[in-house]
Point group: C2
DNA sequence: CTGAGATTGTTGCAATCGCAACGAAACCTC
DNA sequence: GAGGTTTCGTTGCGATTGCAACAATCTCAG
């Protein structure tokens, strides 16, 4: 989760100007874009993006899934997920199913209402994402994704996240 | 602040696969990197990055500054800044100075303690940023910054944000 | 089998957040 | 200069968050 701190060999390096530029741009732009999509969802009366992501991840798994198996890909802490599921469950969007193999935990499964909500949210989410990203073309988007994935230490793969 | 919603001509476009890839990468990577730096600061016993940013912006201005003039570049809501300043003031890091020209507001100014803290934080912040971004080289960083700024609708300028 | 230790998930509490409402001063129009 | 509107900044309140502590179960060496 957390990247490693520099070792003896690298005594407190100051980031180069290009790195600082990239850092600043990354912070500002990701915030702006994220905010744009969140606002679109909220304006449409939908819950926040994390709800969508949980529903989508469950749907994508195609079978009841343990919280711990969700937490890692979602890059979210266990207690955060626990409470997120609390709220979603109280809205009738997911179910907690007794888990036989491991009685500590349980399986998560979206309800019909959960499926429906995810689909409805996508109808707002997709255009909002498209609108937020329209300033770059497909070629630039691929280049951007590659650079970001390299930055994040993720090799170029073909797993797509489309809904 | 909020980007414009699509018009009649563009009926609910679905983002292309490259755009979706870029979107996903942007979310994941910016979160990971941000998290890495925040952890480094916390582990060193320092407050969160937003405190640094406020102090830095004030220092960069070089003169007492109105909250509203800070809120825009910081991309933060007025009430968020108001409470952030409350906390920072109660730690003796900034002062609110009576503003003569406009009696609704006030000026913000870092204290000596504020200056010192920002400098101390940079000693942790800089290496953490460098560590988090070391997977890309300067050339890639510039390309990344350009793409991000284009995505965010910011033209390439020479204003640097280095501390 | 047994007890130490790791894993899974939840919860009490205090801190922080978003929202909407607010007070006060500035601005603007007639 | 009176009255309506806008801007600046704050605040009450309920929802959400992070942290550390926790219970329950699983794992596994001896």
């Amino acid at each position: 989760m957390r990247l490693q701190q520099s070792q003896l060999k690298t005594p407190s390096r100051i980031p180069s100007d290009p790195l600082q530029r990239a850092w600043v741009a990354l912070g500002r732009v990701s915030q702006a874009i994220q905010c744009h999509v969140e606002s679109a969802l909220k304006d449409a009366g939908f819950p926040e993006l994390s709800w969508y992501t949980v529903l989508w991840e469950l749907e994508r798994a195609g079978k009841p899934t343990r919280p711990k198996d969700l937490a890692i890909p979602l890059f979210i802490l266990p207690y955060q997920l626990s409470r997120l599921v609390d709220r979603m469950q109280s809205e009738g969007l997911v179910k907690r199913i007794q888990c036989e193999e491991d009685k500590r935990g349980h399986m998560l499964e979206p309800t019909a209402k959960g499926f429906a909500l995810r689909k409805a949210m996508w109808a707002v989410y997709a255009p909002a994402m498209d609108e937020a990203m329209k300033r770059i073309d497909d070629k630039e988007a691929l280049k951007l994704a590659d650079l970001l994935n390299k930055l994040g230490g993720i090799e170029h793969t073909d797993c797509s996240d489309k809904g």
